[in-house]
């Protein structure tokens, strides 16, 4: 029992390390590659479904189906992340935001009728007018990322609230970090 939970824990830590490694190395181009690799896989499943007698092929199809479902679950889990954080006075997307943003992009590209509002926010430091513009820059960075990954302009709306809607109250670096954000709101 004890060793079991230890193994689980180890596996969790390892996968965490792997993920962390992937995330910090991933770039816009890599995530695009991910989408490209998705399409041939689907085609392969469709082609093999024409020969149901072959048990071998059937098992492969099932495995492919399971892999696809697992991938979908993973994508859905990634889309749970709706808030993306930024450094002070910066509107560059952080590397750890890319995997979840790519999942949103894929989902939106596959569902062109869906629309989102990208809400840009800042921490309370600095001036309100500048923060309105900075919040927009942040939301537009996210919008560009989504567009590069296949989302159409018509699906995106950008609204900046500047420093007017703090997610976290208080004058600490931790609170400020939570307030420098873009929130993706599905309509």
């Amino acid at each position: 029992m004890k060793s079991n939970s230890f193994k689980h824990g180890l596996a969790f830590v390892l996968s965490g390390l792997l993920l962390a490694g992937c995330e910090s190395m991933s770039t816009v181009d890599e995530t695009e590659d991910e989408f490209v690799s998705e399409t041939p896989e689907e085609q392969a499943v469709n082609e093999t479904s024409g020969a149901p007698e072959d048990a071998q092929v059937n098992a492969e199809a099932m495995a492919a189906q399971q892999a696809k479902e697992a991938a979908e679950r993973e994508q859905a889990a990634l889309r749970e992340v709706r808030t993306f954080y930024f450094d002070f006075d910066q509107s560059a997307i952080k590397s750890e935001s890319r995997a979840a943003l790519a999942a949103h992009a894929m989902f939106l590209a596959a569902n062109p009728a869906l629309k989102v509002v990208l809400e840009g926010h800042c921490d309370e430091r600095g001036t309100k007018g500048y923060n309105i513009a900075l919040g927009e820059s942040r939301a537009k960075s996210i919008a560009s990322f989504l567009k590069v990954n296949g989302v159409s302009d018509a699906q995106l709306e950008v609204v900046s609230y500047g420093e007017e809607r703090a997610a976290e109250l208080g004058q600490t670096e931790a609170a400020w970090a939570k307030n420098r954000r873009v929130y993706i709101e599905y309509k």
Binding site: G129, I132, S137, K140, G162, E164, R165
Partner: protein, 432 residues
């Protein structure tokens, strides 16, 4: 005796301002303050006094930082007219000026008739005096007028006590619901009233130069838009509601145009909006952020915030003729939201230093600058119409409050509120 106390209390209740939202806490007086005595005015009206004129005047002059008001308890006598003044008493107390006065009843109208005189102790002569009248509700206004006259007689600068301030309050009702209000009050925070209320953010109130209108940004439609509201009637007009940013409205000196920031053409750029024709003129063109523009008093220059020179906000100035921006702030990584002084020779702005954001001033010719405040989150400086004081917003024990500092940094006071956070102050022009 007891009866009189009760009568007085009742009168206080009846006439006390409905909603005294902001109170005043003086934190720092000026070293060069002039000694002045404001003697309590004799009440010969036969009616209770809803406002103690001498108290209102004392508070006005004390918080200006230019005067050091003698407490009544230290006075050797309580004269009510210049003829009753024993100059030796006041010289002994080291006083330069004495204000005396009395209140009588103006029988035909039932109004209060107020007589006041300001005397110069060393010259032993009266330097200003008037007879004014007001009803009970007007006594406070009358008191501010006396403060204005005293201030001008002594300093040579017009007093700005009879002016107003506009500001935004926000109060969290629940985790997801905040009430925002655009408020207008007297310059001492009294007699406040709500101009506009919403559950969405409001910011950047700006007074028209005729003091009749406020321009501001409101999100109440769900998207930011610029509005103009007539203060007396409450009538509201939507000026712009373009896709993207609609922010930082600022009136031209003749009130015919608004400077504003719009991002409809791609990113934050500065435009001039002509109010009569509703036509837009674009003033900046850069992929960086351009915002928070303000007109010079002569209407010839515009000063604004831009991050065009390396990504962090700095202050730029341009002539309205050639529209070529020239950077004027070089110290520090963050300089923003500039406003010209009344003579257009300097600007007041927000400057980051040592991790904090402070109000600073800069000479637009020599570029010499001075940091005026020391609290960590100071912003939104707005100059009093006589150019002597700057009202700004800051944080005090985690709460947004308004603060005022003299332009030389000498005197300072806070205007804390018991009603949530207060921010975005804008000092009105002279009202008449």
């Amino acid at each position: 005796m007891n009866n009189r106390v009760v009568y007085f209390l009742l009168a206080m209740l009846a006439y006390s301002p409905v909603f005294a939202e902001l109170t005043i806490e003086i934190t720092k007086g000026s070293d060069s303050a002039l000694p002045i005595s404001i003697v309590p005015f004799a009440n010969r009206s036969g009616q209770p006094m809803p406002e103690q004129i001498a108290r209102v005047v004392s508070n006005d002059l004390q918080r200006s930082g230019d005067f050091d008001v003698l407490p009544t308890s230290k006075m050797l006598s309580l004269p009510n007219s210049s003829s009753q003044i024993h100059y030796r008493d006041w010289r002994l107390l080291g006083q330069n000026y004495v204000l005396v006065g009395e209140v009588a009843l103006d029988v035909p109208t039932g109004n209060y008739k107020v007589t006041y005189e300001l005397v110069d102790v060393y010259q032993q002569k009266r330097i200003v005096g008037e007879v004014l009248s007001a009803n009970a509700k007007g006594l406070r206004k009358l008191s501010h007028r006396i403060s204005d006259r005293v201030y001008e007689a002594v300093t040579g600068v017009r007093g700005a006590f009879s002016t107003r301030i506009a500001y935004v309050t926000s109060k969290r009702l629940t985790k997801n619901k905040t009430e925002y209000r655009l408020q207008v009050s007297d310059s001492d925070g009294q007699n406040s009233f709500t101009l506009f209320k919403s559950h969405e953010p409001m910011l950047s109130p700006a007074w028209s130069n005729d003091a009749q209108h406020l321009a501001y940004v409101s999100f109440h439609s769900g998207r930011p838009a610029i509005y103009i509201q007539h203060i007396k009637s409450g009538q509201q007009r939507k000026v712009t509601g373009f896709r993207g940013i609609n922010s930082s409205p600022m009136w031209s000196p003749d009130d015919s145009k608004l400077l504003m920031t719009l991002s409809k053409d791609g990113n934050a750029e500065i435009y001039s909006f002509d109010l009569a024709s509703s036509s837009l003129t674009r003033l900046t063109n850069h992929y960086g952020i351009d915002t928070e523009a303000s007109w010079s008093p002569d209407g010839q220059r515009v000063v604004f915030t831009s991050n065009r020179g390396g990504g962090n906000p700095q202050i730029y100035q341009m002539s309205i003729r050639d529209l070529v921006p020239e950077r004027i702030s070089f110290e520090g990584r963050y300089n923003a939201r500039p406003r010209y002084s009344r003579d257009g020779k300097s600007i007041y702005y927000v400057h980051q230093a040592g991790g904090g954001f402070h109000i600073a001033s800069m000479d637009t010719e020599t570029l010499e600058n001075v940091i005026l405040t020391s609290t960590p989150l100071d912003e939104s400086p707005s100059l009093s119409p006589n150019g002597r004081m700057i009202i700004y917003s800051t944080k005090l024990k985690g709460k947004g409050v308004l603060a005022v500092v003299s332009v030389d940094g000498g005197a300072k006071y806070f205007l804390p509120s018991d009603h949530g956070d207060v921010k975005e102050p804008a000092w009105s022009p002279f009202l008449n």
